[in-house]
């Protein structure tokens, strides 16, 4: 099982690298294609665990949900920019910065990175610190309303948790085993 995962990781890395090579070179003669594929194979064998990490179930479903999540995120980015533009250009500058903390159900590295970057890109909030063990976030909010959106509504946490299927906290069982 372990070996199968590793082979899949190498194969996936190789495919992504090959796609990049073809797109970035744009030359389709035999010499360039073959030398590119050889380089891709070397890179894939040496560093596949940087890109595809460990075992993970339902990878396809997660990728699909991530792709569905991106348009919503892009719309949030537009809203964030309009919000910042309003606060910058308003003569009285309606800002009231504060730092908030909250815990999430997320534990995976990729899901934490996604949520941290999403928080930074959405209206009025920037991630300061993340504690992966507890899924704890420190966030700097520019005013009260964006802070409430994260603390009270929690739309974004729920969406990211839905994408990566980490809605339940599994720390109790892990502690029991240790």
């Amino acid at each position: 099982m372990r070996l199968k995962e590793k082979r899949f990781g190498i194969f996936l890395t190789f495919c992504i690298m090959a796609l990049f090579w073809v797109l970035l070179s744009g030359i389709f003669d035999a010499f360039h294609l073959i030398s590119g594929l050889v380089c891709c194979a070397i890179v894939a064998i040496l560093s596949h665990d940087l890109l595809v990490k460990g075992k993970s179930e339902k990878r396809l479903l997660k990728s699909l949900r991530l792709i569905l999540y991106i348009p919503w995120e892009l719309w949030q980015i537009v809203l964030a920019n309009v919000d910042v533009a309003y606060r910058v250009l308003h003569p009285k500058m309606p800002i009231d910065p504060l730092i908030i903390e909250f815990e999430t159900t997320l534990r995976g590295e990729f899901s934490l990175v996604t949520l941290a970057n999403s928080i930074t890109l959405t209206p009025g909030t920037i991630t300061i610190l993340v504690e992966p063990e507890k899924g704890k976030f420190w966030v700097h909010a520019i005013a009260k309303e964006p802070a409430d959106a994260l603390l009270v509504d929690q739309t974004m946490q729920r969406k990211v948790a839905h994408v990566f299927m980490e809605t339940r906290v599994e720390t109790e069982t892990q502690e029991a085993f240790e």
Binding site: L23, L24, G26, I77, V78, A80, N81, V84, A85, R87, V88, L89, M93, I95, D96, P97, L98, I99, A116, N117, T120, L121, G124, I126, T127, I128, L129, W138, H140, I142
Partner: protein
């Protein structure tokens, strides 16, 4: 072509507007953290919109080299990942070295 040019001009204009707003915010906001709010968000969308405009222009005016829009699409993708990560890194460095956040009513720094 007129429609394409109009769309491209609108995208470039919006991109320039957001980049300008980011720069004004950098000057107007009172402290380190709030200034990062302005630059971290506006540069991402501003740069993305400008590149998207270039992509559409190239796609319709030089359809024989389709690789260029594909490369530009990768640029947008990487900007949207790298920009929030860099903002977060600067923010974390400031927080760890003890830069005090500005509160409402204090003097601007």
């Amino acid at each position: 072509m007129v429609i394409v040019n109009g769309v491209v001009i609108a995208l470039l204009g919006a991109g320039v507007f957001f980049t300008l707003v980011g720069s004004i915010g950098l000057l107007r906001f009172p402290d380190f953290y709030t200034r990062l709010h302005a630059t971290g968000k506006c540069d991402t969308l501003g740069g993305g919109l400008v590149i998207l405009g270039g992509m559409i222009y190239h796609f319709f005016h030089y359809p024989e080299t389709l690789l260029v829009p594909a490369k530009l699409a990768f640029l947008i993708f990487f900007i949207f990942i790298a920009n929030p990560t860099a903002t977060h890194a600067i923010m974390k460095a400031a927080y760890k070295t003890g830069v005090e956040p500005w509160r409402l009513g204090e003097e601007r720094r």
